[in-house]
């Protein structure tokens, strides 16, 4: 559905994205993650034909975003990070206008507008002026707008920003439902959302793709690259020295818990599991050991590891 090759964008000498390469298959829900300023919104804006790329190519459903822009736009539903709407229009008339603009006319216009109002829970506010809506409702109008022409690809840039927890849950469920019929590229800072919804994660850092895999596989890679925890009763300095001296251990953090017990976190070389050595070490020194295991790795950890330490 999306094919990006060597995509580069520079703004007044500053490179926002550099040689991006990735693909998104039809039917995938891909989480597009990265720290602020990493280039997520720029990439999404290029894919939705709002910005031209400085270099490289991108295509959506086989159409080039630069040369076949209108074909791409008629197949993409884009919800920008800051949903900008006409405040003087009412929700109903705005949606009718946007649907007509996207080529949805006549009876189908009414059908689609009704369908998206239902999907995005906008029935209660359909006669209200957009300028009088809360941030949450405006977000929903933006999402409804993206869905109006039943696009093949949905590009959602932080769709849950500004929503309350109930609304976030509703939108999350909505995206999950939409994922059954649409391909979705979703950018968000709520990583638990990505873990729950997305079939794949793309992490972009400093304008380059730093990782691309399922959330589980990425967690596995971080786990393999370190992340053993242990609780041992010993002197802080002695324990730290002994742990760092173990083969394959890159770094050992020892945090006293107050009752003589130390919480240890070990970073090791890839494919090295030091748990056996740690157990043997404790036994050798006669240090009581009450917990030993692999660190629980969630997407947040993966994100931090990748965006702070570089490519995985």
């Amino acid at each position: 559905m999306i094919k990006v090759s060597g995509l580069t964008k520079t703004y007044a000498g500053i490179t926002a994205i550099r040689n991006l390469d990735f693909t998104v298959a039809k039917g995938e829900i891909v989480g597009f993650l990265g720290p602020n300023g990493a280039g997520k919104s720029t990439t999404m804006r290029i894919l939705s034909c709002f910005l031209p790329a400085t270099g490289g190519t991108a295509s959506v459903a086989g159409f080039d975003v630069a040369t076949q822009s209108r074909e791409v736009r008629s197949r993409v539903g884009y919800m920008p990070e800051n949903v900008a709407l006409y405040p003087e229009m009412r929700v109903q008339e705005y949606l009718e206008y946007r649907a007509a603009l996207k080529g949805v006319r006549g009876r189908r216009n009414r059908q689609r507008v009704n369908a998206v109002k239902e999907l995005c829970s906008l029935r209660d506010v359909e006669t209200k002026l957009i300028g009088a809506l809360s941030k949450g409702y405006r977000q929903r109008v933006g999402l409804a707008d993206a869905l109006l022409h039943d696009p093949d690809l949905l590009i959602l840039d932080e769709p849950t920003i500004g929503l309350d927890p109930n609304q976030i849950r509703q939108v999350r469920q909505l995206i999950r439902d939409l994922g059954k019929r649409h391909t979705i590229l979703l950018s968000t800072h709520i990583l638990s959302e990505v873990e729950m919804i997305c079939s794949r994660v793309l992490i972009i850092n400093r304008g380059q793709i730093a990782a691309s895999d399922t959330a589980e596989n990425l967690a596995g890679r971080v786990r393999t690259a370190g992340g053993v925890t242990a609780e041992i009763r010993a002197g802080t300095e002695d324990l730290k020295k002994a742990l760092v001296a173990l083969p394959g251990v890159r770094k050992a953090d020892v945090a006293p818990q107050g009752d003589g017990w130390q919480e240890c976190t070990l970073r090791t070389d890839a494919d090295h599991d030091p748990r056996e050595e740690v157990a043997r070490l404790a036994a050798k020194h006669g240090w009581p050991l009450r917990a030993l295991g692999r660190e629980q790795v969630n997407l947040e950890r993966v994100f931090t590891e990748i965006t702070q330490a570089g490519e995985l």
Binding site: L51, P52, S74, P80, A84, E88, A100, L101
Partner: protein, 250 residues
């Protein structure tokens, strides 16, 4: 089809904006006063000018006329840039040319609406006075055709100014400056006596006052038609390219 969808929205946007109603109110006030002043002048004694000439050739008329274009056009593109609504607009499958034309035609429609009440002045006047010259079709058609032509040209200048900036005030100042400059260029021959015939001819093309003065006497020359229509097309062409270049400037 998208053009008409965009045009409908533009026209609605005009009438949903408070600025439009303020402009309409003051414009009616200005044209009403101008009409009254014209009749009052004619009432003082025999005159060689008709009521149509008196209406379209006063300082009140030209003052309001030049001022109205920046007010109509300043928000066209600048507001979309400023509010960010340009992003959803341009990610919908619309042509850039349709956006430019719809905005221009919406402004033209509002401009025409501005002038419609003034038609009533002449109709009522000719009914009351039963003077043939009051409603004479030549001067009447001439003056209103010229009004439309000059309006089309000045609106295209306003469109270009609005496409250039996200600040409505700057857009208004820019279009006001260009329109005033062109307007005074036409007046150059009135103020500077020792101009060469060639310069007098060139500046004469820009003389909206001269064109209106002739047209309101019922003299229709094809040259101003060609001049204004081609310049309107040229400025719209520039607007289109400025609007398109926005993508590359980003």
């Amino acid at each position: 089809m998208n053009f008409f969808t965009l045009l409908r929205r533009e026209i609605r946007a005009f009438f949903l904006s408070p600025i439009a109603w303020v402009v309409l109110f003051f414009f009616l006030l200005m044209t009403g006063f101008n009409f009254y002043a014209g009749i009052a002048a004619l009432n003082r004694g025999p005159s060689e000018v008709t009521v149509i000439e008196a209406f379209f050739n006063t300082i009140f008329f030209w003052f309001g006329f030049v001022l109205v274009f920046p007010l109509i056009t300043m928000r066209l593109f600048s507001e979309e840039y400023k509010m960010g609504t340009i992003e959803p607009l341009m990610t919908a499958p619309v042509r850039d040319s349709h956006v430019v034309l719809a905005k221009y035609c919406g402004a033209l429609f509002f401009y025409i609406i501005l002038w419609l009440p003034s038609l009533l002045y002449f109709i009522i006047f000719s009914r009351i006075t039963r003077l043939a010259t009051a409603g004479a079709s030549g001067p009447f058609l001439g003056a209103y055709s010229m009004l439309l032509l000059i309006g089309m040209f000045y609106l295209s200048i306003g469109c270009l100014a609005s496409a250039l900036t996200r600040n409505q005030i700057i857009a208004a100042i820019m279009s006001f400056s260009i329109i005033t400059l062109l307007f005074f260029m036409g007046l150059l021959t009135f103020f500077v006596l020792n101009v060469t015939p060639a310069l007098r001819e060139v500046t004469g093309y820009f003389s909206a006052i001269e064109h209106m003065s002739e047209a309101s006497r019922g003299i229709l020359d094809s040259r101003p038609f060609v001049f204004y229509l081609s310049l309107t097309a040229f400025f719209l062409f520039l607007t289109f390219h400025v609007f398109q270049s926005r993508r590359w400037r980003n």
